[in-house]
Symmetry: C2
Amino acid sequence: MLPPVPTAVNLADVARIAGVSPATASRALSDHPHVAAATRARVWRVATDLEYVVSPEASRLAGGSTGRVAVVVPHLSRWFFGAMLEGLESVLREAGLDLLLYRVGEAAERQAFFDELPARRKVDAVVVLGFAVGDDERRRLERIGVDIVVAGEQSASYPSVRIDDHAAGRQAVDHLVHLGHRRIAMIAVHDPGADPAHPAGRSSAYHAALADAGIAADATLVVTVDRGAEQGVDQGAEAMGALLGATSPPTAVFAHSDELALGAVRTVRRAGLRVPEDVSVIGVDDHPLAALTDLSTVGQPVHEQGEIAGRMVVSGLRGEAVERVVLVPTRLVIRGSTAPPRRSRRGATRRADV
Amino acid sequence: MLPPVPTAVNLADVARIAGVSPATASRALSDHPHVAAATRARVWRVATDLEYVVSPEASRLAGGSTGRVAVVVPHLSRWFFGAMLEGLESVLREAGLDLLLYRVGEAAERQAFFDELPARRKVDAVVVLGFAVGDDERRRLERIGVDIVVAGEQSASYPSVRIDDHAAGRQAVDHLVHLGHRRIAMIAVHDPGADPAHPAGRSSAYHAALADAGIAADATLVVTVDRGAEQGVDQGAEAMGALLGATSPPTAVFAHSDELALGAVRTVRRAGLRVPEDVSVIGVDDHPLAALTDLSTVGQPVHEQGEIAGRMVVSGLRGEAVERVVLVPTRLVIRGSTAPPRRSRRGATRRADV
DNA sequence: GGAAGATCCGCAAACGCTTCCAGGAATCCG
DNA sequence: CGGATTCCTGGAAGCGTTTGCGGATCTTCC
């Protein structure tokens, strides 16, 4: 453990060579007022020549902020989180903030993170990407004592940026309804924190859209999978299997994510049926995979949500007011996986159609 | 910019309450020798009760290390980098090191990173993920004055972990040869730093495999794309278009990555041909997409390379010797995109196909 | 039982920077 | 031209740790 920079240049060196006191050198380099322009220029010259960089530890210790932001994210290898992180990183870098990354995948890691709070005393703010913080977690998190921003999920407690899940769900299900589908299934992600009375999620949009279309609810057409698994594709495939096995299978499926939708497509095809002729499938996210596989979806601006979260952090650190919640718009992206239902092959159970 | 932790508990508080000096408290908490067991226990008790956490800035300033590692990565939303980062993160976290993330995507960002070296004085080590550092970049990087590890790419200058690209290429091309293909194309990624005389890459493996099989080289069967674009799929699609347009198209294609391969598959299908019946396609990586789309590939353990890089960093920081280069094994994954060539339909120029 | 040695602990000096406070120089006004 | 501002600058006090050094206490052995 040698000293990181053996030939470190310190502020004192700069000051000495520039012929000023460390105090003045510090002020000059921090662009404080009340420093003569000539002096400021001279100090900067020397600092540049010597490739001086301030010791962040000393700087922070003497009273400043850490210049660091903790980002807590459940996954890294999934596109959604990577893209959001990318947007966030670009804004933070722009603002000169460093990004401390904490991944909290499975329950155990997550628990450990909130128990030990490794980011304590190390950052000026915390950004939670893509998952909702529970009540207990919230209480612990607040012990860090810094600003907190949530992105990609709703949060009652902290400023957050996200899509309007209800609107997104409506876009998807309304699209299927408009195509003429009546037996519309849903592959839903289980949301532990969901308030059943609070009509805001993708699931509630599904029910509302069906109700508006005068379609009776059918519990056998809803399959719920647990969130948190590494890949949603297999879960989607499995869920679709259950739906196809029903006595009266759906003609269209609304999946809560593109990954689930792709799994569903795979199962449909393996069952010898065709997409979209026999079954229409639509997802949410506009994952790059969706474009590649010609999947209809409801796109959300993921990168941009990361950027907005970054701006919220920066504003908060500047002491400016930040919005409680920013909703970014989603857009329906119609590709080749959705089409009107085939009227032939409609069995007795679909007589309502006729 | 309020103080991050208003009610911060300091070492002095712990010391006072435990009835010892700060010096002893520090030694007790750092598990130094020459502290009475009873004292040590008492200090720990108090520290735990008060939820004391050391100020990393002060600790570092007084002579320790930063406890941070910089990770430089070109992309975040692509699976390869995310997966590698995930492996790296898990090891660093285990070792109690914090991960400072720097993304350097396009040339401008990359240039800026190596010019300004934002990680300077902030970290104990630097990990470069998934790209080769140029000579000039290397010189600048060394000004940080800390250990450097490269993962997912070869590096003559630093300890590195990667796959054996030549072996991987052989696995892919030999597979195609064994299936009976003779007209085998390659969609290659342009490697600016490649030494033409140094026979180590995927491209050289292609040529070697063909030569071993007694197949004459045909320059029209090799298409090179530039690296660095966000998505390789479109490039692969375009490259495949060029190959199909040749007077004598290939019956099999070896793509340097799964993303390129998927683009190639798309073009083949859009041309009305079938995979693998008309054209076999194989990639490299074993991207999750490959499993989903039934693409044959040469899999590499990405997550594990991240872990190994992490262990190299940890060893280095402990002052232990680290290996110069670790090669991780690849494995041929045969799926549905490769098959023997069709002997019928082998026209002299394949015009019959169109 | 006394001295050498081992143990344990506290004092105080860094570490590199920021910022309060006050002093000296330059500028301005009447 | 004297005194009051205004500008700039330097001295010095921290910020919260770690650690070298020496002193105090306790063993242990002859």
